[in-house]
Structures are given as C-alpha cells and as structure tokens.
C-alpha cells in the first residue's frame, strides 16, 4: 500500500483541521514514504512531488469509521470489502472497522484473515476487523478474543444483536481485559422491542407501525454501564440514539469508567417524523430506529459536549429486494459512508456543532475509542488525509454511489459538502471526478 521512500505528495494551501494537534489554519501537508513529514504554512515542494491543490478546501486526517458492514464474506450481493472500501474513501474515510455479522460471522481467525486479505488486495481504505463477543453471535459462549486480537481484530461486538444475558456480558467485559480489547455493544432489550418497526410515539401510532420504545435501548445501556463499573472492562456503546443513553454515558464517564460511545449521522439529522413524511420509505428503517426530535437534540448535545466520542456511520448496505417490500418486512439499515460528511456538516451550519469538534469526532475521537493508529496528522503518523470541499453542493444519486447497494434516505436530496480527495498511506486513492 505504501509508496516508495522517496515519493512525495503535498496537499497544498488548504485549511488544515487536525484536532489531535490543535491545528486549524491554512497549511500544507507533506507526505513522504507514506507518512506525514511536515505540516506547515510554507513548505518546500520537491520538483517531482505530486501536488493536490487544496485551496478553499478543508484538509483533515482521513476519517475513521468504527461501524461499517462490509457484508463479506456471505452477502457479497450487498457489498464487498472492496466496494465498501471504495465507498469509504469516496466519503473521506481512510480507516474503517468491519463489523463481524457476516456469514459466517467473524468469530474465528480465518474470517478475520479473509477480510484483511481482501482489504489488502483492494488497496483503498485501511480495514480493521472487529471480532464477535460470542461464538456465532449466539449470545451463549465467549469467542476466542486472544486469537482474534492476534489475527488483527481491534474490538469485539455482536452488533446487530444485543448480548441478552447479563451474566455473559459481565464475563465478556472481564475476559476482554486480558487482551485490552474493547467490548462494543448493540443495545436493545428484545422483550421491549417485540415486533417493533420504528420508534414508539405519536408518529408510530399514526402510521399504525409497532413501536420500539427509547427505553429498550436505555435499560441496556444502564445495565452495561453498571457492568463496566463492576468489571473495569472497556465498554463502547454503538449507535447510541436516545436521550436516556446520552444521560447514562455522561454519568458513567463522570464516574471515570472506561466508556466510549458513537452516534450515527442519521440519528443526528433525522427524526421518526421523517418516516411519516417519506410515506413509509424503507430507506428510513434501521435499528436503532430514527428517534423523536427530543432524542435527536440530546444526541446532538452529547456529541458537542464530548459525551459521544465518535460519529460512526453504521453503513449497512442492503439489496433492492431486501428493501422494496412492506415496511414491516424490510431489512434494517442504510448506507452511510458517502453521505456522512455533508449530513453532519449541516449541524455546523445550523450552529449546533463546532467545525473542529466535528472533525475530531470523525478522526481522533473514533481512533482513540479502539486505540487505532489513525486520525492524526502528527509528524510520523500514517499519511492518511481527507480533502473536503465544505461548500460543494451535490445531489445524491443512488446509482452513482460507489457502494454496491442503493439504500440511502438522502436519495434525490441536495447536500452541501463533499470529499474531493482521499489519501491513504501517502497514495491518492480517490479523487472526485470532474471537479477542478
């Protein structure tokens, strides 16, 4: 993946926002041999250097996404490691974590190795596999955390399903300490969820869809924060979506627990009311569901004040046949990688989030959650860079996305802000076609 030692790439004259180093200003970034060698106002550009003109653009560390469903192995008709990694770099994400709910699940090293081999062959984004908490994601026995970590897994999760047993969850948090692994949790009490298809409340009542109460998430977050306290384990809350979860995480952090959390762009931008205005569009169906306006507000505040460490897309590709059905029968999940930046940038325009905090939550924030060597432009760091045009307007045309699937709620919508270049290990892996 790395270019030779002498190759130089200079990203020139952009607004460099590198929260890990407290940098926000017009700078040029020099990458040599795949690493960052200099970030300065004036730099020397060698004659044979490749130059990316970033004037008028943002230059940030490549984005880090803790939550991506690459679907390989097993559901390659939805996405592959390669198509997912291509979608990632098109959205500015140079490091992505691959969720283990594949077929078979990533609960053993052969699956981990396959994902890594596919990622290496693709040569696009860096792919960090995540292993399972329990064997087969069945919630019955622990998976082999030591083996998984040695093979390259950066965390464990049963994402897509909760760990229903409190006793098993306790043991997972304890056992993971031996390998300093984070246990990342998908929080829902299945008894409270029942056959729910969207957030419970006035909108679900009007649409006649069965509701999922916010408390189905809250009770599990509260349980696991308590178990993190009991065990001293490292806990990460995936796709947090409710005001109650934000409160529970804030309180847990205040007490000094090893606790981090992520939120998805859609939970920061859309509400359950959008399910009604879209007339039951299944591209607004995901789990956790779009919540009430009050929940969205609380998640926005949680992101702004640092309670939520990371923006993670929960990129969940599904084929047309999984989505073009009755709302009740439709698969959960939406695409996220290629629309995340403009969707969350909108929060800055609305005065809800500082630009620097936004970049932090897309870079060093997530990198710290799992201890990834990414998300920074420190000297010597991996040469992973995103160049973004914050003012570029574009219309989301699903058939033009790099993902193999089309399930985006932003189809046909005009968004502002787009990644124009993505650089991984000093190599330009994505350039927006037709711009400048």
């Amino acid at each position: 993946m790395s270019p030779s030692e002498s190759e130089v790439l200079v990203v020139q004259g952009g607004r460099v926002i590198d929260p890990a180093n407290g940098v926000d200003g017009i700078r040029s970034v020099v990458l040599r041999g795949g690493r960052v060698v200099e970030v300065a106002e004036r730099v020397e550009v060698p004659r044979d250097a490749k130059v990316v003109d970033a004037r008028g653009r943002w230059v940030t560390p490549g984005f880090v996404d803790l939550h991506v469903h690459l679907r390989e192995p097993g559901q390659e008709y939805k996405e592959t490691v390669e198509t997912g990694a291509r979608a990632a770099v098109a959205g500015g994400f140079t490091s992505i974590c691959a969720m283990p709910n594949t077929l078979p699940p990533n609960d053993n090293t052969s699956v981990t190795e396959l994902i890594l081999a596919r990622a290496k062959a693709a040569g696009l984004a860096r792919v960090y596999p995540i292993g399972c908490i329990t064997r087969g994601r069945k919630g019955e026995e622990l998976a082999e955390y030591g083996e998984l970590k040695a093979a390259g897994c950066v965390a464990v999760t049963d994402d897509g399903s909760p760990v229903a047993s409190s006793g098993l969850m306790r043991r997972a948090l304890e056992y993971a300490r031996a390998f300093d692994l984070v246990v990342a949790v998908h929080e829902e009490d299945l008894q409270l969820v029942g056959k729910g298809a969207m957030n419970e409340g006035a909108t679900a009542t009007r649409l006649g869809l069965k509701g999922i109460p916010a408390q189905a998430e809250d009770v599990m977050v509260l349980r696991d924060v308590a178990l993190a306290e009991l065990t001293g384990g490292r806990l990460h809350i995936c796709h947090l979506s409710t005001a109650g979860s934000v409160r529970a995480v804030r309180e847990g952090k205040r007490r000094g627990l090893l606790l981090t959390a992520e939120a998805a762009p859609h939970h920061l931008a859309l509400t359950d009311e959008d399910v009604a205005s879209s007339d039951y569009d299944t591209d607004l169906k995901m789990n956790p569901p779009l919540r009430s306006a009050a929940d969205v507000k609380a998640v926005q505040v949680g992101l702004a004040d640092g309670t939520i460490d990371a923006i993670a897309t929960d990129h969940a590709p599904h084929a047309v046949e999984d989505k073009k059905v009755e709302f009740d029968a439709a698969a959960n999940g939406i695409l996220g990688l290629e629309t995340a930046f403009p969707v969350v940038l909108d929060l800055c325009r609305r005065g809800l989030l500082a630009e620097r905090r936004l970049v932090e939550a897309l870079t060093v924030g997530p990198a710290r959650c799992y201890g990834l060597a990414a998300g920074t432009l420190s000297k010597g760091a991996a040469g992973d860079v995103a160049v973004l045009d914050p003012g570029l307007e574009w219309v989301v045309e699903p058939e033009k996305l790099f993902s193999r699937s089309r399930n985006t709620p932003w189809k046909g919508r005009r968004l502002t802000g787009r990644c124009t270049h993505a650089i991984v290990g000093g190599r330009l892996v994505h350039e927006l076609g037709g711009s400048r």
């Binding site: 029942g194 006035a202 009542t205 649409l207 007339d279 059905v325 009755e326 029968a329």
Partner: protein, 316 residues
C-alpha cells in the same frame, strides 16, 4: 374531489369537503340499493380486483357487491401469508395483477403502509381495505355515513371509541374523519391498549368506560382481536368484559337514550358487547353493513373514473 388523490389509502390526507363528497354521493348510491333492480351501468367496462392478504368476509363481499351494482367486473384474489412466507413479493403479486389491467386494486394487508407502497408502484387506483393498524378508510367513511344518518349530523357530537385502540385501524380512520366533521372523539380501553401519543390525533383518553360513554351520542365498540395480540395486554376476556364490555345494564344506566352503538364486526359476543346490546335498540350495526356497500360504491365510482356527471346513479 377525492379523485384528485387517485388512490384512497387513508382518511388522514382527506379534507372535510372531500369526505363530504363521498358521503353525499353515498346517499344516492344507497337509493340504488333500495331499488327492485339493483344495477346501474356507471362502471360498465371497468374492472375491480380485490387483493386480500388477510381473511375478510364482510369487507371483501361489500366491495364486490359495490362493484357489481355499478356494473364493474370484480375479481377476488385471496393470498394467504405475508410476502416473506409466500415466496412471491407483494410487489410482484400486485404487478402481475396490474398487468391484467384493472381500474381499481382494492388491497387488504397485515402490514401498515402496504397500500402506500403499492400506490407508488402500480398504475391503477389503489383503495385500502385495511392495512395493519394504520387505516381502514372505507370503514371510517361508513361510520361517518351511519352517524350522519342516525344523528342528523356530526357537528358538536361526541363519539366514544372503546377497545383495543393500539391495534385498530378503524379507530385511526375514525379519528382522521369524525373531528373533520365537527365531532369530538373519546378513546377508551385498558392502558395497555391505548397507543403512545394518540392524543396528538385530537382525542381524549379514558381508562374508565363510564366516563367515556356517559353523555356520548355514539359509541363505537371495537372487536378484541385475539389474533393480533402477541403481548399480554389484558389478563383475560372475562376481566376485559367486566370493565370495558357493554351490557344491557350499563347501557341503560350510562348511555343517553338516543345514543347509537356501532361495531365494525365481527362481534365477539359476550366480550366487548353482550348479545342484548348487540341486538338491542341502540345498535345500528347492521345499518353499518348496508351503508358500507353504498359508501364503497361511491369510492369506486369516484376513483374508477365513472361515467360523466349526468349518468350519476342518483340522477338516472
């Protein structure tokens, strides 16, 4: 002008005027049903397909008779099970039927929003005959029609709806229509059967039957649908009947003498209604069934692009 909508998938999006248009036309339609020869040529050459994914006797028959009285050809397609278990998707089924060129597709489905989904993907008019717990627009309209007929109007009238509001599409369609005609709606049932946020639809909520029905001009009693209840919403039908069922004693003590009792059917006798009430003087349940045909004739007429104004049945 419900014709501007092309489809009838719910009453939420209809204005007062649009609802009144159907109800007024249904008056003429009802007159046709009282004739010795119950047939008018209004929809001759048109075809109506009834696509039912849930079992139904009265609604399907009602749409079928309505189509036939208007001289449309009616075809019944009963599919069991959801698209998932059937193997063929809902859209494929609908597309196959559409290829046979019907003018109206009448759809009943257990999934809320299924008619909305079909309306986006097929070319003919879609009429919902009930979808999940969403809406049952023709039932809502026939309830309005019956109440208008029996009460002389709905302005400032009070209607109580009693039962499993959570799972009831009838309650929702009533809630989206009765207030537009000037009525106040009270909802009543055990708290486990009252959905979150239902007050936002413009109703008051009562857990006590007496407070809900006292002073009401009409009471809509809903069927307790065992087949829909996956949760333990009530301990059993015995306790339900004791606290939320209506019997002759409660009716005599609590109801206005002029109050009418409606039920979308089929009745669970002895659960929500005792037989003496179901068959008693307050009951207008069989009028609802007859009015249902008239209302569905009006719906089909307006959506199937019936004959021009002069050929309306009332003026024939």
């Amino acid at each position: 002008m419900i014709g501007r909508h092309r489809h009838l998938i719910g009453l939420e999006g209809l204005s007062r005027e649009e609802i009144l248009e159907v109800l007024d036309l249904a008056v003429s339609m009802k007159e046709v049903l009282s004739r010795p020869v119950k047939k008018v040529p209004s929809l001759r050459g048109k075809s109506v397909v009834n696509l039912f994914f849930e079992t139904s006797t009265r609604t399907r028959s009602s749409f079928e008779i309505a189509a036939k009285v208007l001289s449309a050809d009616a075809l019944n397609w009963t599919a069991s099970g959801s698209s998932v278990t059937k193997g063929e998707t809902l859209l494929d089924t609908a597309k196959n039927l559409e290829a046979m060129r019907p003018d109206v597709l009448v759809v009943r489905h257990s999934a809320s929003g299924a008619p909305n989904f079909l309306a986006r993907h097929v070319g003919c008019a879609v009429v919902s005959a009930g979808d999940g717990a969403h809406e049952h627009p023709s039932q809502g309209l026939l309830d309005c029609f019956t109440l208008r007929e029996k009460l002389g109007g709905l302005e400032n009238r009070t209607v109580a709806i009693v039962g499993d509001i959570s799972h009831s599409r009838v309650a929702r369609s009533d809630l989206h229509s009765l207030p537009k005609l000037g009525a106040r709606v009270r909802l009543c049932g055990p708290p486990t059967m009252i959905p979150q946020g239902v007050e936002a639809l413009g109703a008051t909520v009562h857990y006590d039957l007496r407070s809900a029905v006292e002073g009401a001009d009409a009471v809509v009693m809903l069927r307790i649908q065992h087949e829909r209840i996956g949760d333990p919403l009530i301990p059993n039908t015995r306790e339900y009947s004791k606290f939320w069922g209506l019997n002759a004693r409660k009716a005599a003590e609590w109801l206005k003498p002029s109050a009418v009792i409606l039920h979308p059917g089929p009745i669970n006798r002895g659960v929500e209604l005792s037989s003496d009430v179901a068959d008693g003087p307050h009951s207008v349940i069989l009028d609802q069934v007859q009015n249902g045909v008239a209302v569905r004739m009006a719906i089909l007429y307006l959506l199937a692009g019936g004959a021009p104004e002069g050929a309306r049945p009332g003026k024939a």
